[in-house]
């Protein structure tokens, strides 16, 4: 007979001091102690002796833990149990089941896990509740109760009933209301197009058909804003992507670009044999309400994009960039329904950490940007880089190939994720969007990775794509366009549990699933490979050339739409947008008294201080390919501009990845925000030894609600900058993505994010070039600043520190900069340069300070300039690089830069201090130790 056994695991040291610290951070000034135990509930037909064995041999380790069976451990205080909501996948359940089987016992019918907390202290019921919600669990995925009783309730089995939506009789009002009620994110024009289509067919659509169209036409999937038509001032723009982004790649014609703007990722040439696939995605909305799950599934999703590039690429690196609100904001100032930025940052870091580390992919490039505009809408960018044999870069999908689903099972998780991403967040998002959040299971995805790479190498995969936003409906709906048809049998999809309707199966965004297109004769071998790697596989349909997307559930046709309508029936966005002006003005601030104090403050400012606390949590060295790591040095660490890996064990050729992101500048000019992001990404690559001729870019646009004219104008301006700057740099765009509607609204509050463009740069470092790091190497070596310094302090970290919001933002003179970059590359090739660092946030003074840390080498600097010292030292003028030149090579270096702007600054010193004389006056003398104390203040 099946019984439920509750096994509570009690660590000898159950005290959770880390949670106690978080409670103090909440501002609760009481003496509190927190204890935690783990609970397993096992349902099965077992004797007490069996359970004793399970507890002692599997669940509890007597070296450090004790256990109780069906008996509650007590330490006193207020106690409660946390378990997952029904339907949230807990991978530990499978591992426990598997372990019990290994012991020769019957497999349990069900296993659940949870944890129990004890809070000791004089607290009210409300305070306990508040503390629990803020520090111990997330109500979006977990529930709290004195005892978790109803954990084994199973859902009702699903009974088939075809649902038709009577759109043909809907008025315009009805159409809009229906779209809103169902969270479809379709506007009236789009709903009318659907009505027209089905009226012509003389029938009403099924719910599955409407959902399929909503997913396919969602902003997330089809980028309708970027593909729209605009009257901008007196200009007419048809398709922003085509006009400004893809056009750069067409014009600069770089033959190292192998796959551009199609497929799941851009692919560039690495060498004759292999290509590099790269993709950057965002996962903003889910991360706002459940940071851990949001970022984990964000990184999981972009990894699948790389697995789904060509006929399968192998991930070699992850990247992540987070934009969050002020980390020191008091809890009392947070709008209702908004998580504290610190909790968000800790959560998203932990999500990327746990997913990326378990996948065995080094997360080694990234950044964190802090601005009050991200308070309610944090941005979470996740990227993955992969390597793929060039013979597998072209997909080859034909009618008749089987549609194969591999990986995780399908549940109710993540339903309506993409349409959720196409709406604004509001107070209640935390409650209404529960279904839109998913929990990642990296080990299942690792199995998928192992299967795809093995199967690809046996040439069994003709086509592969990931099941991401929109689930099967997007993955199959989009690929069906290639063959012009598909037939899918939804009852063949393996489910996590009973109770899913056909439409839920079709649009579920359950993670860790991939769709393959496979020749029938290869199915058996593919199944064997899946068996070897313990990965689930199902054949769920076939691609056709019928012109139709046909879906069946237990013999019933539930969807029959023309591929042509699905992919070409969407009405275009046509809008008029007024041209906006972005005036800049000259701002003069009174001369500050203490240069040293300002430098120290800048070094510890949240946008500049060390990211060590985050980077160390990532396994940035797994795969053994790292060459230049994100932190350089051993104990004291200098930040590095671009990271470099050697993606192939047997090749000296290297790959460098950089990022450019300058959202503060968008408060003054969205155009120059975008221009500077491009320059920063390019410059960071060149500064470590990449050939400027061999750089490709990725664009990720994150903006507020584009239905607002001012936001739309920002988007257009940023797009123009992409075109005008990148074409001069001759850097093609190879892939991009956008995330819009990053806006938070309540009745009396609107917070929009600053216009944010993340540029990811990717470049190759040739075999014969030695990459250069950003720290001082040897005393006596001369230091130079390459490029021109102007009074460009608008939205600089210095002005932000002073609380000034105006001024000139840095301008990008791409043609001049390119000459500088080409010359610097020559200098690096000739090994004249031994250290090199791009000058960005905080300006020159910060850049010099950062270079002193890794080897504890100081610098003695003397500058003469027309500018005032603070203008010179803290200006963020673009196009500048600080370099250390080898002793005895000055002449050669200076000759090389003859016609270009450069300035001799001084020398590296063995004395561990930084001394700066400005116009013959000593203004800064600081020990490295003192600077590092500020710089290394923890970010989280």
């Amino acid at each position: 007979m099946n019984r439920i056994f509750r096994i509570e695991i009690v660590p000898f040291n159950a005290r959770r001091r880390d949670i106690e610290e978080s409670i103090i951070e909440l501002g609760i000034q009481k003496k509190i102690e927190v204890y935690e135990t783990k609970i397993y509930w096992i349902k099965g037909d077992y004797q007490p002796d069996d359970i004793k064995k399970v507890a002692e041999e599997i669940l509890c380790e007597d070296v450090t833990e004790d256990y109780r069976v069906n008996q509650r451990y007590e330490v006193g205080g207020n106690d409660f149990e946390i378990t997952y909501h029904f339907g949230v996948r807990d991978p530990v359940e499978d591992s426990v089941k598997e372990s019990i089987k290994l012991f020769g016992l019957k497999e349990p019918e069900a296993v659940k896990t949870g944890r129990r907390y004890f809070i000791k202290g004089e607290l009210t019921e409300q305070e306990v509740d508040y503390i629990a919600r803020k520090t111990m669990y997330n109500p979006v995925i977990e529930k709290k109760g004195k005892t978790a009783e109803i954990i084994f309730t199973e859902p009702q089995p699903y009974k088939f009933e075809l649902i038709e939506i009577p759109v043909n009789s809907f008025s315009d009002e009805d159409l809009v209301r229906y779209s809103q009620e169902k969270g479809l994110a379709l506007n009236l024009e789009e709903m009318k197009a659907i009505k027209r289509y089905f009226s012509e067919k003389k029938r009403n659509p099924t719910d599955c058909e409407i959902e399929t169209i909503a997913q396919t036409w969602s902003e997330h999937c089809v980028h309708k804003t970027f593909k729209g038509k605009y009257y901008y001032g007196d200009e007419y723009i048809d398709n922003l992507l085509q006009t400004y982004i893809a056009k750069v790649s067409e014009e600069v014609k770089k033959d190292f670009c192998l796959i551009l703007f199609k497929d799941n990722a851009g692919i560039i040439e690495f060498d004759e044999k292999d290509g590099i696939a790269i993709k950057v995605e965002t996962h903003n909305h889910p991360s706002a309400i459940e940071p851990y799950g949001g970022s984990a599934t964000g990184i999981g999703g972009v990894i699948r994009d790389i697995l789904g590039a060509g006929r399968g690429a192998e991930p070699v690196m992850n990247t992540d960039v987070f934009c969050v609100g002020p980390l020191d904001i008091p809890h009392s100032e947070l709008p209702e329904g908004v998580l504290h930025p610190k909790r968000i940052l800790k959560g998203v870091v932990a999500g990327v950490r746990d997913y990326g580390n378990r996948m065995g992919i080094p997360t080694c490039a990234g950044g964190v940007f802090i601005d009050s505009g991200y308070l309610a809408n944090p941005l979470v960018y996740c990227g993955t880089v992969g390597i793929i044999p060039r013979k597998y870069i072209q997909k080859n999908l034909k009618p008749g190939y089987k549609i194969v689903l591999i990986g995780g099972r399908t549940g109710k998780d993540g339903i309506h994720g993409v349409t959720f991403a196409s709406l604004e967040l509001e107070e209640k998002s935390e409650e209404v969007s529960i279904g839109a959040v998913q929990i990642g299971d990296p080990i299942t995805e690792k199995k998928v990775l192992d299967v795809i790479i093995s199967a690809r190498d046996e040439n069994l995969i003709e086509f592969v794509t990931d099941c991401g936003g929109g689930g099967l409906s997007s993955a199959i709906g989009e690929s069906a366009e290639i063959t012009n048809g598909a037939r899918v049998y939804l009852d063949k999809v393996p489910l996590k549990y009973e109770g899913l309707s056909y439409t839920e199966i079709w649009i579920s965004e359950s993670q860790e699933r991939m769709i393959l297109g496979v020749k029938e004769e290869n199915i058996n071998r593919l199944k064997e490979i899946c068996d070897t790697y313990a990965c689930e596989i199902s054949v769920i349909g076939e691609y056709t050339d019928s012109g139709k997307l046909e879906i069946f559930y237990k013999g019933n046709k539930v969807c029959d739409i023309d591929i042509d309508f699905l992919h070409r029936g969407r009405p275009d966005v046509i809008r008029k947008v007024s041209r906006m002006e972005y005036p800049e003005e000259d701002i003069n601030v009174p001369e500050p008294k203490s240069p040293e104090e300002i430098l120290l403050k800048l070094l510890s400012s949240y946008n500049i201080r060390s990211r060590e606390r985050i980077i160390r949590q990532y396994d940035h060295e797994v795969q053994g390919k790292s060459v230049i790591k994100p932190l350089i040095g051993y104990l004291k660490l200098s930040p590095q501009d671009a990271v470099v890996i050697r993606p192939k064990f047997n090749s000296e050729k290297k790959l460098a990845i950089s990022k450019g992101i300058c959202p503060s500048y968008s408060y003054i000019s969205p155009y120059w925000m975008a221009a500077n992001a491009i320059d920063e990404a390019v410059r960071s690559l060149v500064s470590c030894g990449v050939n400027p001729e061999k750089i490709a870019l990725l664009d990720n646009f994150c903006f507020a609600n584009p239905e607002n004219e001012e936001v739309m104008a920002e988007i257009i301006e940023a797009c123009k900058a992409c075109y005008e700057i990148a074409r001069v740099f001759k850097t093609p765009f190879i892939s991009g993505k956008d995330s819009l509607y990053n806006e938070f609204k309540t009745e009396n509050l609107r917070i929009k994010i600053p216009a944010t463009l993340l540029i990811t740069g990717v470049g190759i470092i040739e075999e014969h070039v030695n990459p250069v790091t950003a720290c001082f190497k040897e005393e006596g070596n001369p230091l130079y600043l390459i490029g021109e310094t102007r009074k460009e302090l608008g939205a600089s970290e210095y002005f932000i520190l002073l609380g000034i919001e105006k001024g000139f933002v840095p301008k990008v003179h791409a043609d001049k900069f390119l000459k500088i970059y080409n010359t610097l590359y020559e200098a690096i090739k000739r090994e004249l340069v031994v250290a090199s660092h791009d000058v960005s946030q905080g300006g020159l003074a910060v850049a010099i300070s950062e270079m002193t840390f890794a080897r504890n080498k100081g610098a003695r600097i003397g500058i003469k300039s027309q500018l005032r010292w603070d203008e010179f030292l803290f200006s963020e003028s673009a196009g500048r690089i600080l370099v250390e030149v080898k002793k005895g090579k000055q002449r050669e270096f200076e000759r090389l830069f003859e016609d270009l702007p450069f300035l001799f600054l001084g020398n590296v010193t063995s004395e561990p201090s930084l001394r700066i004389d400005f116009n013959n006056k000593l203004i800064i003398k600081l020990n490295i130790e003192d600077m590092y104390r500020e710089f290394s203040k923890p970010i989280i």
């Binding site: 450090t64 991978p91 070897t532 790697y533 313990a534 160390r616 053994g624």
Partner: protein, 254 residues
């Protein structure tokens, strides 16, 4: 071609198998990565090999405890054959997750199938990737060519070596500690970050009484190439000397 063979076990969630194979191949081994399922089907094949390696990663997601589920597999399917393999004088190596598996399977320190020690959550409370220094505490086949002090990276969440007082004393008394965390000059200190995870006595790696089985938290395969080493570190041969020791030991005997 060399006839010395290394067997790298590959479970769901294992993720350091490639770089480990690369380091072994560069050292002269023929190294095979064997999926767990294939290993279970025919583990007798292990006797064609000379070195059994459990590489780093998160086997089975480190669910329940790090390395726990793979340790149960090892106990269930491989224990007897591994014992024979060991009695033939061959070597067993567990790196990071592999060390956790060896301890939980009762192979280290006493090869008796009982878990005596544990690797618990780092005292810092989270996963950490950083370079540390190791002090060589005794001779084993693995350490023959290593310097007394070696720079090497760690990357784990559960690496705090723990054991009861008596067990710990026995491990020290029987000279089973191979590596301790130390600073650049070789001083063993208990403070962070010299001891990066709060391990008792600064223990980073232990072996069995014959020195044939080694488990260690740091990753010698990630300190193998010149370019792996951090900017300011001048000793750059940790991984190469480590694997050379293994290879030469086996070469002399088989």
């Amino acid at each position: 071609m060399s006839s010395l063979k290394a067997y790298i076990i590959f479970a769901p969630g294992t993720n350091c198998e490639r770089e480990t194979r690369y380091a072994l191949e560069q050292t002269g081994f023929v190294a095979d990565i064997v999926p767990l399922k294939d290993a279970i089907n025919n583990f007798k094949k292990i006797h064609d090999y000379h070195l059994f390696v459990i590489p780093g990663g998160f086997s089975f997601g480190d669910d329940i405890k790090a390395g726990k589920v793979l340790a149960l597999y090892l106990k269930n399917f491989f224990f007897e054959e591994l014992k024979k393999f060991y009695e033939d004088g061959k070597l067993i190596l567990g790196i990071c997750n592999g060390f956790q598996v060896l301890v939980r399977a009762g192979i280290l320190p006493f090869f008796d199938g009982k878990q005596w020690a544990s690797l618990e959550l780092n005292s810092g409370g989270a996963f950490e990737d950083r370079w540390v220094f190791l002090k060589k505490e005794r001779k084993t086949p693995f350490t023959e060519f290593m310097n007394d002090i070696s720079p090497i990276p760690i990357a784990h969440a559960e690496g705090r070596f723990t054991a009861g007082r008596e067990t710990l004393e026995k491990i020290e008394r029987e000279n089973l500690v191979v590596f301790k965390y130390c600073d650049e000059k070789g001083n063993i200190k208990n403070e962070y970050p010299v001891n990066p995870n709060g391990s008792l006595n600064g223990i980073a790696g232990i072996c069995d009484k014959n020195g044939q089985v080694l488990g260690l938290m740091p990753h010698p395969e990630r300190a193998f190439e010149e370019h792996h080493f951090p900017e300011s570190v001048s000793i750059r041969n940790t991984g190469k000397s480590f694997f050379k020791g293994v290879f030469e030991y086996i070469k002399q005997r088989f």
